[in-house]
């Protein structure tokens, strides 16, 4: 066995064991047929191809092939929600403090968060004109900008939005990376429209004459947005389910993490109410609840796939016996 073959076989571990035993020689043989002379390492594109193929095959083996379209739909809904919130916060940020009052701000803006919110408007617009890679790159930039806000705020000693506003936006952004490439024009226009709707909502709710609304506004807007997102995802899941399409269930499951972070005030309030009867969640409970949502939420999808594979009815058909020797596979 050559070193190149050994390396391809290592990458083949992305596939389930049974499938690898059955098709591994054939797949690696084809890679070796395609490899030029003197090649010693699989290309990055080959590694990505094997990773994607392995994931698809694991989902197929678990009878969960509708997970990928379901997560793509969740990605679109996440991008729409992130764009709505970015439009909202961008308008809020414009209401910076009066310099004469000596309240800290970030130039004419309420906080350094304005950089992240503006970064989010780029993928919302790009989705309309350049879906696919350009939009995903812009989402990545926006996610990184969101993650950097607390760091910049700490280093430069400037105000920032509350962490729960940033954490939910970060989670929405990570999911938005799964948005599909081939969407019809009306669907691609939704994130940009949502950003405008968010700005309009801010004008209506906050108005132009106030500043420093971060103190209490996220407690209202974030859980309401999370509730609407959950309701929309459930309606879509029911609609798709009526057409015998199970992808909507995966969409809801994928969205539970950002929805949980958007609703962290309510969840933490429930925890505190049960634990100590406190009317408002304390800061430590908020932090603990957010960490629990961030850890448990992403584990839901693989757990659901494992359960579907174990108890579901959608298992892939086994391969037919070998036509040459008749052996079962």
């Amino acid at each position: 066995m050559t070193e190149l073959e050994r390396r391809y076989r290592r990458l083949l571990r992305a596939y389930p064991t049974d499938y690898r035993r059955d098709r591994g020689d054939e797949i690696v043989g084809t890679y070796l047929d395609l490899a030029g002379p003197g090649r010693r390492w699989p290309s990055l594109a080959d590694a990505a191809d094997l990773g994607r193929g392995g994931l698809r095959q694991r989902l197929r083996a678990a009878g969960a092939t509708d997970l990928i379209p379901g997560v793509r739909l969740a990605g679109l809904l996440a991008l729409i929600t992130a764009a709505f919130l970015a439009g909202f916060w961008t308008l809020v940020e414009r209401n910076g403090p009066d310099p004469e009052l000596g309240v800290p701000g970030f130039g004419p803006f309420v906080s350094v968060g304005v950089i992240a919110w503006l970064a989010w408007l780029a993928p919302a617009l790009l989705m309309l004109f350049a879906p696919g890679r350009p939009t995903r790159v812009a989402v990545t930039v926006a996610v990184l900008a969101t993650a950097m806000v607390p760091v910049v705020s700490g280093l430069a000693d400037v105000p920032r939005p509350p962490l729960y506003a940033l954490a939910s936006q970060f989670a929405l952004g990570v999911l938005a990376l799964a948005v599909g490439n081939r969407l019809p024009l009306p669907a691609r226009a939704l994130p940009g429209t949502a950003a405008l709707a968010g700005a309009g909502t801010a004008l209506f709710l906050v108005g132009p004459a106030h500043w420093s609304w971060y103190g209490w506004r996220p407690e209202d807007i974030l859980p309401a947005t999370g509730g609407m997102l959950l309701a929309l995802a459930i309606v879509l899941a029911i609609g798709l389910g009526i057409r015998r399409d199970a992808q909507g269930g995966w969409t809801v499951a994928a969205l539970l993490t950002p929805i949980g972070l958007l609703s962290v005030h309510i969840l933490a309030g429930i925890v505190d109410a049960v634990a100590s009867g406190a009317p408002r969640p304390t800061y430590p409970t908020l932090i603990a609840t957010a960490v629990a949502v961030a850890l448990l939420g992403p584990a839901l999808l693989p757990a659901a796939v494992a359960l579907r594979g174990r108890y579901g009815t959608g298992r892939a058909r086994p391969l037919e016996p070998c036509p040459t020797c008749g052996a079962p596979r």
Partner: protein
Amino acid sequence: MDTPLREPTFLILTALAREPMHGYAIIGEVAALSAGRLSLRPGTLYGALDRLTDAGLVELDREETVDGRLRRYYRLSPAGDATLAAETERLRHNVEAATERLRARRVQPLAPRTAGGLA
């Protein structure tokens, strides 16, 4: 299998229409059919062959070992033959309709639109 077929699926079925082929040959044939535009990778190809096999459009034909490498040959099933024929007819109809419209456009160029539309 959903129709209309996506281009890689259509070209894989087209490649198998002439004779049974193994994975490496299918990749070469799809590249030739698409004039080099579509370059399938093995992970993608075998995933597509799995889906086509599940849908009953492709069948396993035989196995061979060449230079110590396993090669499985795949062939078009009767259902695959019918699906490819129906899809080709649909595309032919679209091409003929578009060709007809373009020909008419060149013979009789469109008059420039009047601003404000019809009175």
